[in-house]
Amino acid sequence: MSDTVIEAPEFAKVTASYLTDGFTLRSWLLTTDHKRIAVLYLGTITIFFFVGGAAAALMRYNLIVPEGMIGSAETYNRLFTMHGVVMVWFFLIPAVPVTLGNFIVPLMIGARDLAFPKLNLISWYLFVFAGLVALYSLFVGGVDTGWTFYTPLTSAYSKGHVVATAVAIIIAGFSSIATGLNFIVTIHRLRAPGMTWYRMPVFLWSLYATSVILVMATPVLAMTLLLLAFERIFHIGVFDPALGGDPLLFQHLFWFYSHPAVYVMILPGFGVISEIIPAFSRKRIFGYKFIVWCSIAIGVISFLVWGHHMFVAGTSLYSALVFSILSYMVAVPSAIKVFNWIGTMHKGFIRFDAPMLYALGFIGLFTMGGLTGLFVAALAADVHLTQTYFVVAHFHYVMVGGMVSAFFAGLHFWWPKITGRMYPEMWGRAGAVIIFIGFNLTFFPQFILGYLGMPRRYHSYPPEFQVLNVLSSAGATILAAGYLLPLGYMTWSLFYGKRASANPWGATGLEWQTSSPPLTENFVTTPTVTEPPYNYPPPEVVQHHV
């Protein structure tokens, strides 16, 4: 691999922090500064998070009674489709890469900016445009196909605004590709002197693997949705058996993208956790090389397992067997990571600041999500459990329990760096605990519902499932409160929070060596890296000083 790194340290024209470098709207909307773009993205995805969350709240409200609190099934179907589309493409996939990644990657490798800053800004505009198209399709009536868009329902039968939504997703895909491309090239080409591959923090490796997936999988989705739109507009196509096509081809193409996309959501989370656990255990990370190569392995193997979404869809027996064993293979690196995080805590000096609480919550919830993944990877068990609430609970444990916890952990961890302010610590800890409890109350009953056979995407259900549904809805109110809490205290901290020092956590990593908030040029001089990552002093030294 090319290890071209920036050769000559240069003196930057020292300006003020990036936040005070221009106050006009124009200085924000036309910025090419990766840090400002990250902030723009943070605002955008927050809006989408609460749009998707509102849809989820309405869904849980509907399911309180067996016949459905919302009178019409049509409305419910549009709600869960909107929840899926908004959460997957406009929150989960972009969340960590475009906000924390955008902000931290150049800082972490000691660069001034990403390799292609203009492309970065274009990607934000594409994202906003895609979001507006998605919201448009929502307000003119929405879609009622589920976020998976299975044909021929989508191509020939649905009455929703499928084409507009598909266009929105294609545009959001271009934005993803631009971000992924930027990260890969940046990590290859713009590392500071001395920042060799094995000196890179795990967060960078994770984002590298994430970007590989974004860049290699997203174009396939673009073509798939293009074919779908073509089929829907002209009533000719390749997915509808009535027209001679094969509906399973759509599923193959869709999951070729959408399964790796699951890892786009979770891999950056792994990266965030791998920063936080060592920082708050005051100890170097356990098995660094294993963790980074597990990230890369997940990035590649995640492309070989998509068929496990189709075990009962009518694919061939042989392909089901192959995809099942490969699905188990992709679980191995994830398991290794969990053990390594625990190994990192061993003999550490563990502090329980808010980011660490979120991170510990992540490990617990992700482990549960991962383990229930074993159930649905086992072919015969999948036959019973797939398409039920078991699957819903499983992927919410990974996506929401895992990924959203990791996002919040990272947001709290780097908040002082991004804003230059500290959030109120006690509120942060309370938020982490409330979210953990609320989450389990919401989604654990759904495992049982799924085993008992309650199908997903049902507007109404047999009365015997009511008790567990009410439990789940009750938990959802706690979870909603848990998510509103950070919105409140973090906004508060923007104005009244304590000023943050350059390195409030005493963490390693180049991003902590510059001021909080950083300068427009990131560093006064290009830093030179001389030590391995997570170079916390060994316990015997720390103990000596205590």
Partner: protein
């Protein structure tokens, strides 16, 4: 409210054992993970002055140990799940066939004797049942949780599902593949009853004609007999000018296609011959068969296939 699910088929218990094994494995791993986290949270909290000792430098032994351990466990689970899955989808040859047609938003069931029901399926316990399923519009999914079985029902294809019920009772039947507005209304019940009661039910709901008899009428009406002969005897024997293959004795026999491959004429093959004659053409006959795609409903198709099947004498096994 109940927190258990009846095991109504012979394979349900087997699936439950697998799920139980998965549950126990998960609980063990979960206990390990949560236990270690809690232990370290207390033991190595920053304020604790317990002696941490010296860090081990080499970690690869531990890494290799837990990698190999997870691999072995996962491989065992895979083999277990795969073995059962293969058996779940291999119908025994003597299964009783019942036909299922899904459409937005109902299940239509056709019995061999011509009995029809909607959103309900009556069947006998104690003998293997094979469902032959297709859809008129979008993808549906036939799922009976108490049987631990489900499969997608695709338009344009016959998918099959089999099970043997050993516990009489009434069970939920769900569509579990999202199929449009009325998806959650597309459920019904499966009534499993002892064989005598089932025979009784068949008689009470007896249709005027069996599936095959209805198929014979359709065979005439759609003009099939014009080329294939009155009783499917074949074109040349009935005095017709068209040389079309004989259909008597066709079902279950090997057929040579123009590309030289040999297939067994089963339900799906006959269906494709009627709807997509160009897809897999039989050898040594001119390509004169027109496509009936879009002209015959799925239910009529099942009847015609039942008729063609009835032209083959049952083999004694």
């Amino acid at each position: 409210m109940r927190f258990w699910l009846p095991q109504a088929t012979t394979s349900a218990a087997e699936v439950d054992y697998l799920i139980l094994a998965l549950l126990l494995t998960s609980c063990a791993i979960l206990a390990l993970v949560f236990g270690l986290i809690l232990l370290y949270m207390i033991k190595y909290r920053a304020g604790s002055d317990i002696d941490r000792g010296v860090l081990a430098d080499k970690t690869w032994r531990l890494e290799a140990a837990w990698t190999v351990a997870t691999l072995l466990i996962f491989f065992g689970l895979f083999v277990w799940g795969a073995d059962l899955y293969v058996r779940l989808f291999q119908p025994p040859p003597d299964a009783l066939k019942i036909y299922v047609v899904g459409k937005q938003w109902m299940w239509k069931i056709e019995h061999q004797g011509g009995q029809r029901e909607i959103n309900a399926l009556h069947l006998p316990v104690g003998r293997p049942i094979q469902l032959v399923m297709t859809s008129e519009d979008v993808i549906h999914d036939f799922s009976v949780p108490a049987f631990r079985i489900k499969h997608d029902v695709l338009p344009g294809r016959y998918e099959t599902l089999w099970f043997e019920v050993n516990e009489p009772g009434t069970y939920h039947l769900f569509c579990t593949q999202f199929c449009g507005t009325g998806h959650s209304d597309m459920f019904g019940e499966v009534v499993a009853m002892p064989d005598p009661e089932y025979q009784n039910w068949l008689e009470q709901n007896g249709a005027s004609e069996t599936l095959a008899q209805a198929g014979q009428t359709l065979f005439m009406r759609y003009g099939c007999s014009g080329c294939h002969g009155g009783n499917g005897a074949g074109g040349s024997q009935s005095g017709s000018t068209v040389r079309a293959p004989a259909l008597a004795g066709l079902y279950g026999s090997p057929v040579t296609l123009i590309d030289g491959s040999i297939v067994t004429a089963d339900d799906l093959y006959i269906r494709d011959c009627i709807l997509l004659p160009e897809r897999r053409r039989v050898a040594s006959y001119p390509p004169l068969m027109p496509s009936f795609a879009g002209q015959i409903s799925e239910e009529d198709l099942l009847k015609i296939i039942a008729y063609i099947k009835s032209l083959t004498p049952e083999k004694q096994s």
